[in-house]
């Protein structure tokens, strides 16, 4: 019975994640605007914008390469696949144990690589350190003990600092929709990985409703925390987020050290 429920949970989770990713982007924008004294856009705006964008015709340059046609789909699918592997409202989803955070980091890295190629290169190489931070944090988290909280902190910092990635200036129509959705989804995956690592978050199929609420609350708090940090603290403004990624990476590294120190007999 649990297996069937696990499959149902996985399907629901898979459908929920792209929508939640867009809501997260909307929530961040709304919180940022409110903190700056503006009314701000609706939380649902990114979600509502998807329909018209998906229906719009794609404009492609005559000299566009074969990759330009494939990359937006691959970027979104890779990020979506990563989202499938990180449980949200229940930890007994059918696919939750298939991969681990290393596989999640790999899929996110694939999406970031293809997105950066489409954008014509890397604007800031430091942005590429978010996934390695996830790798290292995962390493520390697996060890448990004192490494856990440090790993969670590193993961949260890296996730808040670099969630999305630079979107190609030339993207239009469904290409743009897919790249925007992937950017929101990427941040959601990193935040969900943080939730996964927080001790005490309920697991098991019987916990769906409270699990959903708790997951949504933690992810929402991280998003609002990011907006507060951006408004109140200069280093967290988008142009200077590299410090956040580096700090996240360092914390993740400390988590590795702590984790390994606990493993030594």
């Amino acid at each position: 019975m649990n297996s069937v429920l696990g499959v149902v949970a996985a399907v629901l989770h898979g459908l929920l994640m792209p929508v939640a990713g867009l809501l997260l982007v909307g929530l961040e924008a709304r919180a940022r605007a409110l903190l700056q004294g503006d009314a701000g856009p609706s939380v649902l705006l990114p979600l509502r914008a998807m329909g018209p964008l998906l229906r719009k015709r794609r404009v492609r340059a005559e000299a566009a390469s074969i990759l330009a046609g494939m990359a937006p789909v691959l970027v979104f699918a890779a990020t979506w696949a990563a989202a499938f592997l990180v449980p949200s409202f229940s930890r007994e989803m059918a696919l939750a144990g298939t991969g681990d955070l290393v596989a999640v980091a790999g899929l996110l890295m694939l999406g970031r690589l293809l997105g950066a190629v489409l954008a014509g290169g890397i604007a800031d190489p430091v942005a590429l350190l978010a996934e390695p931070a996830l790798l290292l944090a995962a390493f520390g988290l697996a060890a448990g003990g004192a490494a856990g909280p440090v790993g969670v902190a590193g993961l949260a910092l890296a996730g808040m600092a670099v969630g999305g990635s630079r979107i190609s200036d030339g993207a239009s129509g469904s290409d743009l929709a897919l790249l925007q959705a992937a950017a929101g989804l990427r941040r959601l995956v990193l935040f969900s990985a943080v939730v996964l690592a927080v001790p005490g978050v309920p697991g098991g199929v019987e916990w769906w409703a409270p699990g959903l609420l708790l997951w949504g609350a933690i992810v929402g708090m991280l998003a609002i925390g990011l907006a507060v940090a951006e408004v109140a603290w200069a280093p967290w403004r988008p142009a200077r987020r590299r410090e956040g990624v580096l700090a996240g990476l360092v914390l993740a590294g400390v988590a590795v050290l702590l984790g390994l120190a606990e493993c030594v007999p």
């Binding site: 297996s3 696990g6 499959v7 996985a10 399907v11 998906l54 794609r58 000299a63 390469s65 074969i66 990759l67 046609g69 494939m70 789909v73 691959l74 979104f76 699918a77 890779a78 979506w80 696949a81 499938f84 059918a94 696919l95 298939t98 991969g99 681990d100 290393v102 596989a103 790999g106 899929l107 890295m109 694939l110 690589l113 950066a116 190629v117 489409l118 954008a119 014509g120 290169g121 890397i122 190489p125 590429l128 996934e131 390695p132 790798l135 290292l136 995962a138 390493f139 697996a142 469904s174 929709a177 897919l178 590795v256 050290l257 702590l258 390994l260 120190a261 493993c263 030594v264 007999p265």
Partner: protein, 485 residues
């Protein structure tokens, strides 16, 4: 008389064919159980091919085919260097190994001399006889030597030396030093690749990063062996073999690219991959493989290294340096590959690149092998009783294929036969690991060749219903497989 800079064979086609045929023969020999013995040549030299030498000989021959397919490139190996590499691979004792490595080093000077001197010192142990050296168990000295070798020889030969020194002759060599070295070499190689402005530096850097990962794999295997911990030891060995396969198949694709671009400068290769078809796809596949992102063999190596490191009780400093080194190496490699692909696919073409059929086919073959390398370590680890990353990779690959299909259908961009290409990919990934979707996968593999070009063009869209049905079917299969297992 053969000049030191003479080409291997006068005709590129002949060289490629000869290399591929020799590779086929070597693969057959390995599949037949690698029979053979040691032959003493006189003058203190002995030859004898074993499994390790045979495996690396296969890779060297594949690499040679790739390098020979690249025209007008300084990456081309000379006859003497190739002969030296082969002599080192079939060496039956340490003196022959040293002679082969000396010849393969060719005219290169500087740190290579130090490396050769170090190898010479190792060769003196036990009188140069491999069996005596195994009993002598030189320990930490061999670990240091392997570290230097991995840093100096970033190619397949360097990886072979690491395997020979640590896995075969290492015995009880401590894994810690090699683990530190592996992390540092991986990070250094990635950094070099990221800073590279030319193809030779890029290729050298990526090769060095993979050599570092191979060294790390070997050190993990040693550490696991020392405490009778079969799982991590198997994962470590699989990482070493996987890194070698990626190095021998995907890195030469970049040499072919340089040959097609007709220049060493990365910037001048703008637009060279844009021609599409096999050439573009092979470049992309090789780029993803060496950048260590899914679904390439490089990612399988990273995955196994992390799994093994987490499972082993190792010193925090060694483990942290190793984990940091791999993470840093991979992020630098991703940055390097982003730049290469951005220049090659999206850059404004300075010259019309026209890859020839030979180059296209060799690239497609090597890139395909590089992608399939993800399966080899999985199979090795599964046979050794460890975890089976191939099965996990297969499920994740199938999941991604299904999601690509759903996304492509929803955004109405799938070409008429694009879905079969996806199923072919999913089938090829899944079949060896779990045997799922065997029939549709096989059927699609048979007809994949003519359908690739349709992908991404957006013309002739297929009806929505069968595609959604197929996507749903795949998803149900995947979830059922998960439930059953």
């Amino acid at each position: 008389m053969v000049r030191i800079d003479a080409s291997v064979l006068p005709g590129r086609r002949a060289a490629v064919l000869a290399s591929l045929l020799a590779a086929l023969g070597t693969a057959g020999w390995l599949l037949a159980g690698a029979p053979g013995g040691t032959l003493t040549l006189g003058g203190g030299l002995a030859i004898g091919l074993d499994r390790i030498g045979g495996f690396f000989l296969l890779l060297v021959l594949l690499e040679t085919a790739g390098v020979a397919a690249a025209r007008d490139t300084p990456q081309g190996r000379t006859a003497v260097q190739l002969g030296g590499a082969i002599l080192a691979l079939v060496a039956g004792d340490a003196m022959t190994l040293l002679a082969g490595v000396g010849l393969a080093a060719g005219t290169r000077r500087g740190p290579m001399v130090a490396g050769l001197a170090l190898l010479g010192g190792v060769a003196l142990l036990g009188g140069g006889d491999f069996a005596a050296m195994r009993l002598a168990a030189p320990g930490v000295g061999l670990a240091w030597c392997a570290m230097v070798v991995a840093g100096l020889w970033p190619g397949v030969l360097g990886m072979f030396l690491v395997a020979r020194l640590l896995v075969d002759l290492g015995g009880t060599a401590p894994g810690g030093v090699a683990m530190l070295g592996g992390g540092l070499v991986a990070a250094w190689g990635g950094w070099q690749a990221w800073r590279a402005m030319t193809f030779p530096v890029l290729i050298g850097g990526l090769g060095r990063m993979l050599a570092g990962m191979g060294l790390l794999g070997a050190s993990i295997a040693l550490a696991g062996r020392a405490i009778d911990f079969a799982g991590p030891a198997a994962l470590g060995m699989a990482s070493l073999w996987g890194a070698a396969v990626v190095l021998g198949t995907s890195v030469p694709v970049l040499a072919v690219l340089a040959g097609v671009a007709g220049t060493d400068a990365l910037r001048r290769a703008a637009g060279v991959m844009r021609s599409g078809g096999f050439f573009g796809l092979a470049s992309l596949a090789a780029g993803l493989t060496v950048a260590c992102v899914p679904p390439g063999g490089g990612f399988a190596v990273v995955w196994q290294v992390f799994r093994a490191l987490r499972a082993l009780p190792i010193s925090p400093v060694e483990g942290a340096v190793a984990a940091f080194g791999v993470a840093a190496g991979v992020s630098f490699a991703v940055a390097a590959v982003v730049r290469l692909l951005a220049i090659g696919f999206e850059g404004a073409a300075e010259r019309a690149a026209a890859p020839r059929a030979l180059e296209r086919n060799v690239m497609a073959l090597l890139a395909g092998l590089g992608l399939l390398a993800a399966m080899v370590p999985g199979a090795v680890a599964a046979l050794a009783g460890g975890e089976a990353p191939g099965a996990i990779g297969g499920t994740v690959g199938l999941l991604m294929a299904g999601l690509v299909m759903v996304t492509a259908v929803v955004t109405r961009r799938l070409g008429s036969e694009g879905h079969r290409v996806i199923v072919a990919g999913a089938g090829a990934v899944e079949m060896p690991s779990r045997g799922l979707v065997g029939v549709p996968g096989l059927r699609a593999v048979i007809g994949w060749r003519k359908r690739l070009a349709v992908w991404g063009t957006g013309r002739d869209p297929l009806a929505l219903r069968p595609l959604l049905g197929l996507a749903l079917g795949l998803a149900v299969l995947l979830l059922l497989a998960r439930v059953v297992t």
